[in-house]
Symmetry: D2
Subunit: 309 residues, 4 copies
Amino acid sequence: MSKLQTAVRDIAEEMRVRTDRGEVATYIPELANVEPKHFGIAVVGVDGEVATGGDFAMPFSIQSVSKVFTLTLALGKAGDRLWSRVGREPSGSPFNSIVQLEFEKGKPRNPFINAGAIAVTDLILSGHQPREALGEILRFIRFLADDPSIAIDEKVAASEQRTGYRNAALANYMKSFGVLENPVELALGVYYHQCAIAMSCLQLARAGRYLAMSGRNPETGHPVIQAERARRINAVMLTCGHYDGSGEFAYRVGLPGKSGVGGGILCIAPGKASIAVWSPGLDLAGNSHLGRVALEALTKRMGWSIFGA
Amino acid sequence: MSKLQTAVRDIAEEMRVRTDRGEVATYIPELANVEPKHFGIAVVGVDGEVATGGDFAMPFSIQSVSKVFTLTLALGKAGDRLWSRVGREPSGSPFNSIVQLEFEKGKPRNPFINAGAIAVTDLILSGHQPREALGEILRFIRFLADDPSIAIDEKVAASEQRTGYRNAALANYMKSFGVLENPVELALGVYYHQCAIAMSCLQLARAGRYLAMSGRNPETGHPVIQAERARRINAVMLTCGHYDGSGEFAYRVGLPGKSGVGGGILCIAPGKASIAVWSPGLDLAGNSHLGRVALEALTKRMGWSIFGA
Amino acid sequence: MSKLQTAVRDIAEEMRVRTDRGEVATYIPELANVEPKHFGIAVVGVDGEVATGGDFAMPFSIQSVSKVFTLTLALGKAGDRLWSRVGREPSGSPFNSIVQLEFEKGKPRNPFINAGAIAVTDLILSGHQPREALGEILRFIRFLADDPSIAIDEKVAASEQRTGYRNAALANYMKSFGVLENPVELALGVYYHQCAIAMSCLQLARAGRYLAMSGRNPETGHPVIQAERARRINAVMLTCGHYDGSGEFAYRVGLPGKSGVGGGILCIAPGKASIAVWSPGLDLAGNSHLGRVALEALTKRMGWSIFGA
Amino acid sequence: MSKLQTAVRDIAEEMRVRTDRGEVATYIPELANVEPKHFGIAVVGVDGEVATGGDFAMPFSIQSVSKVFTLTLALGKAGDRLWSRVGREPSGSPFNSIVQLEFEKGKPRNPFINAGAIAVTDLILSGHQPREALGEILRFIRFLADDPSIAIDEKVAASEQRTGYRNAALANYMKSFGVLENPVELALGVYYHQCAIAMSCLQLARAGRYLAMSGRNPETGHPVIQAERARRINAVMLTCGHYDGSGEFAYRVGLPGKSGVGGGILCIAPGKASIAVWSPGLDLAGNSHLGRVALEALTKRMGWSIFGA
């Protein structure tokens, strides 16, 4: 058993028995029913080694982790023009804050808070029907994970659409400043569906490999995106990937990561591995509690912190 | 000539002739007189290699770069208890903002905004006379740089003290919430003097080596601080080291760094090098404009980004 | 000619020739076409005396002036229970600010900012179809003005509905906190239509008489609302009726008033008169510029300030 | 016994036995020792009638009620030029908030929040020694009350000076924007002493008569200030006199008033009476709880609301 295998096995066992699990998100009714006992982890090394533990094969709602893939897709389509619509600074605010939008005339601080992610999705939507845009997003994620079985959980999407008043507020607010090009309902419709994509830890870790490999697709070796762009996405993940818990995540884990309120985190060890963890209980900033704890343990054992040995 | 030597020489030459130099800080009268034409760079590799360019030997006011050293010192004295007084999240606000303090009951967001740095200095001061505390800070920096000639520019300190109303506002505000232990004037007195320490790029790069070397002193090999603590200071530098330009710096340079309004930046390539640049003209967020440009060029040429090859 | 008649005639003439007229609101396309040259004034004394000047008979879009009537209606239906949904403090913010809503968990500061008015309309809507609620509002205003010809300008309503993204943001935001009971689109639909009611200065001044007469209907002498409630509505008009220009209006005019972005102002001299002015050009706070100037002149000449002789 | 006498007697008795008394301010140590059982009231009619009840003759710390007198004095010295330094809009914030100052570049919203009052005092101080400025303020209040025995409680002043970090933050913050002309310590020194003036309800009600009498001194009939200025001070008291409880006070009491954290309120019924109440227990907005309750009862019984009969 390799060092990585042993570490992943130990961590999965440790997380299985811990009782401090945070709180499952309740604001999307369909997610409130998820069993808090789950924990899964999958690590895919750049050398192809795979280590898994716990409920690594069980699909969960990736929610905001999807923002990494839509940002990649939108940068591919629009290039750096994207940054005229969305900033790349930490917001210092919760994921669904609208205060910053008022002070900065409708321009979201970064692509990983909800407002910014809706603006990115709106950019992908432009010139297409919602169904086409959503198809493009899904195809891209399936391609990255090399797994055509990845699908949208329509019940979750419908649940979000029915109750997503705060996202509707953000979208309408941006629309009033001309930051969104498309009708608000259409941009939101695509956004809710991308958030409702269901993936397992293993699928998610596989989908993130290009960010650990300077933008290259591990199957073909061809670039998914330029190396510089991969680095920069990692940088935005590090500074903004965990809302107002981003500093804490960088401090403790020392790797770029993006969380979702479904309890998943995609985490990148550049040049080393793509990692996905899942535990539905969240901390106060809306990030998976045990997910972060597990990543902190893993990065320490493997010496993967980007901030030094 | 090594690859590093060539890169540093080229970058120094390129910066020397550029005309976009930002604006010299004017709010400290003594700093407003600095000649904007200066540019200096010094790189000290973990293997001992040194590369320098431009005005690398000319001392400048390190200002907020000093916050890295006081944070290190305070963590050594108080350990993680420090974090009960100061957070470690990006603030999303300018360096001297007081808004966040009101919303968060006087607790500064991180040790690198002015409020947080004053709170850190107050912690170093506790139990000492200002003169002793300042002596300790100065001795620590001299030890790190292995250079006993480093000194405080008393004219700059006096100029800051006379005009530092905004810092006095921050300190009094924190004092009203009990975040500072010592009399406001004393904590501010030490703070203004630590900011007025004058160092050259070479001295600064040498002083920063421990952060590139897992906390070890390069001369003796003994730990200055634990390896984990060095990583964590680097993490806070990355997420918070450039105020509301931290995301931009991470995105472009891809290394932890801390800027000062004197135009200096200390930048760490973990496991590779400690870098100092100096150019007095600042961008809108108060960070050295050409300093950042030079670091972006250097990290690209050397492949030093922590976010991937 | 009475003193009032002379004052109104002089003021109308003075306003007709002034060239500082402010800027016509542009964010509702249909309102942007209104001719800025108009000025109208109508004063209806509690003794029945009527004085008019300028374009006093020309209908204009009353916009936020309608909030006075819906507040009266909602207080009649829900009583003081209304204040659990909406505060009664000045907001210190522009009419369409969303910042305060985030800091105060979706509860609008007062019924005269947009968010608060939408919450009031939502309360009137509860238990009814939008058409019924709107009918009730319109009938109430016709009754107050004793004029069945008052109607909604459907083109203005449609124009607002198409472009009202900021109000949609406010409504969705409140809905996310449970402050609105009805579907967002329905509450907004009624709100846009109440704002699009067209009235002349004379109709508006007549409709406001009950607030100058301790809540009594001047035609019948019967109470429209209790005297105490009329006083309190006047108090809220004084402190909150002109958004973040409320202090200025109180300081200069010295009477309770409510402005609308159509350029109208309803102003109450308790125990003396109900006054309506109209001039489409707005100041920076979104209140009719010449309207305020005319009211300042009138109150001074008539000695009507509530703050002393 | 007149109607006023009876009302005052009844209210004093009612307040004496009530048990809901709010909380005595603790942030000025010297004030924390005041006995919460006290209640005093004094009404001085414009016709000279005087009605008193409870502890009407017991001196208390007038604190922010002093801001009414310094505003009057400063308007007399500087005229409307004062308004270039201080606004006249409700702030929507607590008395000691600094957030608004950052958003509006150091200009306080109105002269009745702490920042604004310090700026007003700074204006009175300009060109004088602190002792002279303070002497001028004290002489003015003695003249208004026609009582040379009114004095400063030096123990309260010293207590405030020792612990007034939040006011020091406000003052330093304004100084950094150039809003204060004098050294921060001097302006604060005068401010703390003006707040520490001790007056009884009767003295305070007498001092406020000019605001009920169109600016005239009741003893001499000569104007203290122009009638228009008296009206305008009343207007600012109504919109801003109770911090973020100003709307509530206008709604319930219906008269201009200014509160202090010592538990006093000066309240003006224009053309009718000057009223002072005192009860040390405060509500959440920092205004005297029973003081407001008593004024609400009085204004109702006497029909004195400025918002209608």
